[in-house]
């Protein structure tokens, strides 16, 4: 299990990186934290011609709070940094609560925010959370830069709107509305494994404690993080109750998601878990929303 040979470049700036990508296109592969890429290379499943190592680009590692209460995370910010960051703890509690769910401590030492997003694994927590929190990603290349909503970013398994010459440089999350509660619930064979099913939820209440806005985004039930739009519709405007939550859960499992089977969980079992976890997540989110309304 040794990787095949490759040409190695380690640019020290984003601009230099864009240059390499422009030159090599699909022959080049970006190396961020490498915690998913390097295992694939060790298995020789991935054999890039050129490896562009982003780890020397210090300008991409930061967590900033904007005046409007939004939060920016540099693409090369590592999981352990997000996990321990007070800005995240205060302003993006859902993300803060999510971090320990990601793999193991050794992986979190190296893995990066941008790397996980760009890899677009349907089981990755950060991809789902980014949609739940209305995130946007800044993509950059020699041709210029563009912002893409997390919701539009993922288009297939391991497939995103990133063009061959583009690199994701920053994620931005808007301020979370008042009276909002959140939750992440997962079921994995072992806590640090990929979840068989996971859900990240946000619930925003109006003045009369009715659901003003709801977000339900799932892991491991589709080609990419799946937002349960129809289930959200059922929740909106409703007075939160176990009945409403159950109805939403049912819809999420039958209308919004189409999970596949693997050796750990059948499609049927996954649908079941979607129902279970949706109810649990909505309850947690609701309680927190109430607390945050005090």
């Amino acid at each position: 299990m040794k990787p095949a040979p490759f040409k190695y470049v380690a640019p020290s700036s984003v601009d230099e990186t864009a240059g390499h990508l422009e030159q090599h296109g699909y022959d080049a592969k970006l190396l961020a934290g490498g915690q998913s890429l390097i295992p694939m290379m060790n298995f020789r499943l991935v054999q890039p011609e050129v490896l562009v190592d982003l780890n020397n680009i210090s300008e991409l590692s930061y967590i900033r709070l904007d005046d409007d209460g939004g939060v920016r995370i540099g693409a090369m910010t590592r999981h352990y940094q997000v996990e321990r960051n007070p800005i995240i703890a205060e302003h993006l509690p859902l993300l803060y609560e999510t971090m320990p769910h990601i793999a193991t401590v050794q992986i979190r030492s190296r893995g990066t925010f941008g790397g996980s997003i760009s890899h677009a694994d349907p089981s990755a927590e950060l991809a789902a959370v980014s949609i739940t929190l209305d995130g946007q990603f800044k993509l950059l290349c020699k041709r210029g830069e563009r912002w893409v909503k997390a919701n539009d970013f993922f288009i297939g398994m391991f497939t995103t709107v990133l063009e061959a010459d583009e690199v994701l440089v920053e994620a931005r999350f808007p301020k979370i509305p008042e009276r909002t509660g959140w939750a992440i619930h997962e079921v994995a064979r072992r806590p640090h494994d990929f979840a068989m099913v996971g859900v990240t939820a946000c619930l925003t209440l109006d003045g009369r404690n009715r659901v003003q806005d709801a977000r339900l985004v799932y892991l491991s039930v589709g080609e990419y993080p799946v937002e349960a739009v129809q289930a959200e519709a059922i929740l909106k405007g409703q007075e939160p109750s176990d009945e409403v939550f159950a109805a939403a859960a049912e819809t999420a499992a039958t209308q919004d998601t189409d999970p596949s089977s693997d050796i750990h969980a059948s499609s049927d079992f996954r649908r079941h878990l979607v129902i279970v976890l949706t109810k649990r997540a909505l309850r947690t989110a609701f309680e927190r929303a109430i607390d945050n309304s005090q």
Binding site: M1, A4, R189, H264
Partner: protein, 779 residues
Amino acid sequence: MTKKYLGQPITRNEDPRLLTGQALFVDDVDMPDMLHAAFLRSDYAHARLKGIDISTALERPGVVAVYTAESMGADWEPGPPLVSPPPTVEDVVFNSRRQVPLVKDKIRHVGEPIAVVIAESRYIAEDAAEDILVDLEPLEAVIDLEAALEPDSILIHEDLESNLAAQLVQNKGDYQAAREQAELVIKKRFIIDRGAAAAMENRGIVADWDVKSQQLTVWDTTQAPIPIRNGLAARYGLSEHQVRVIAPFIGGGFGPKMMMFYPEELVIPWVAMKLGRPVKWIEDRRENFYATTQERVQYHDAEIALTREGRVLGISDQFLHDTGAYDPYGLTIPLNTQSHLLGVYDIPNFTSEIKVVFTNKVLSTPVRGAGRPQGVYVIERLLDMAAKELGMDKVEIRKLNFIPPDAFPYEQHYIDQAFAPLIFDSGNYKPAIEKAVELIGYEQFITEDQPRYRAAGRHVGIGIVAFPETTGVGPYEGARITIEPSGKVNVATGVGTQGQGHFTTFAQIVADQVGVDPRNVNLVTGDTAEFHWGTGTFASRGAVVAANAIHASAMAVRKKILEHASKHFGAPQEELEIEDGQVRVSDLPRMSISLGELAELANPLRGAVEPGTEPGLEATAYFGPKYGATAFGVHSMILEVDIETMTVDILRYVIVEDCGTVLNPLILEGQIHGGVSMGIGNAYYEKLVYDENGQLLNASLADYLIPTATEMPHIEIEHQETPSPLNPLGSKGVGEAGAIPVPALFAQALENALSDYDLEISETPLSPNQLYELLKGRS
């Protein structure tokens, strides 16, 4: 005999080296000019090999050689059979088909080695392995055990009439008669699936052929260095003294490292001799899933016959055993299963048929437990089902059927895996189960806790099972003990060590006999240049066979010490005492001599040594038990199931263990903990998934789920000591004990937790998905 150190929780002599990264493992061996090997392995489970094109691979810079079966010429030969058919049983079918060094004509399992690349680095060797083109004709794979025996099944070994590898029937009493008198008969099918040993260290071999001295030196991650040495010598026409096999520190064995010979064990030394350069091959984790042996697949059709009172009259069990593509281990595993099918119970009538089946899967050889967990699973599950039918308590039905203490040695009247009559040497089961019942609070759980949990909507259940472990089988082990002029004590023995603490327990035994601190006892194991008689570390025999050999030679050295000292002081032996490395005449403190000085006196440079005496303070002795020592234990657990997510949490785990004399409680408990963790894997996490084409679908530690600290409960252990009458130390093996009862226990506790759903579990390992399927539509 004084027992100053034996039985004490002494910390291990070997640890400081292991803790600081200074212990030598095979992959740490580095030699000038060393080459590296990578094997090309089959992607197909069953195929005809029609051609191999190695030309491109040979052109790659850094590649030294590429070998195929053809290149090996006359040296190409299947591995030797490890076990012959049992001579004492009639009508035995036994078709011995052994693994080959490199595939010549037919591929029989995924991962079977087709060619080996030798290069300047492992990286280059792997590059070149990808250059090799293989032309093969895929054949339908034989996976299911029953389908494999259908008359129209495609044959894995075409010279045979069927895929039947072996068949054997054993009887005790008259089961049919018992069945006719029985008031209750329950028939069930049980399915046990595959698991891997998955030692943290993968296998590895470094071989070096020294042309000048004509010496072959092999570092091998084996549990059996001496047989490997003798086998290599025989295979390659060398004298046994031209071959030195070293099993240094081994990163876990658990059985598969006992297998002989792995293809790589035949090929790498051959290549080293051919090229006259040292060659290293280190198995990687993916290879470990295809190239290292596995175990446990059996289908059982079992029947239990009882009286209304719950007395078991007889057991019948026809079972299929999956040996994989070859059967070097013959009937060892299924015979072990048969030996445990009657558990710790006095069951007069028994009939059992074994059918060993070839399949297009990785070879099956003993993995920690070695057939025992399957046998225990069947008998304990049958008892649970019977208890349910009869409305009996699970503890009561077991107590009622235990072999009584006065019945030992208890003859089972059929043979064990060593082809010797199966005899349980000693045991005392009732106090063990009563202790366990008390420790876990069985009564209180049933009467108070469980109803309370139920009321709170929680699904919490309890389980309790008993099991025997046949251990410490022959043939023999030996040891040589030398007291050096420095006063240091040197011990050499043949068994390899894979973490069982031999460096320490063996030192404790010697320390007591020759009156030194265990820290001053230096043990050399697993180096055939140091000691070359013995078989290996397997079947939980180290603490029985090797330990008693060490004890015997320690006694012999003690005798020499006393003889020399008594001559030296002119005092009778009875008046001498050995302590702290000194021999003293009691009550005369001034009359004292150190063992070192005595050793020098015993090996004079001038003068005469009396006829009939041997020089030095050294002795070699051997020990071979009459038959195995049978350990036993009772495990009990309380677990909680989340019936929505199917996650299971083990709240308590209690063990009452009896493995005879305890040599070192610290090490003993460590052995049990490790066994239980593998057992928990076999119950709910670890399952090798083969698809219908013989593809292994989870050949990585990401998909093959070994329990980590978050899955393991805290284990409470209580010891009971029923010494074995068969050896002076009274010890019994324990290496595999922990793993044996867990799947049966887990199933019982799960059924108990979900009693409102009236589940019946007859399969292991389970998974959340399977549990979901079982629960679906029940309420």
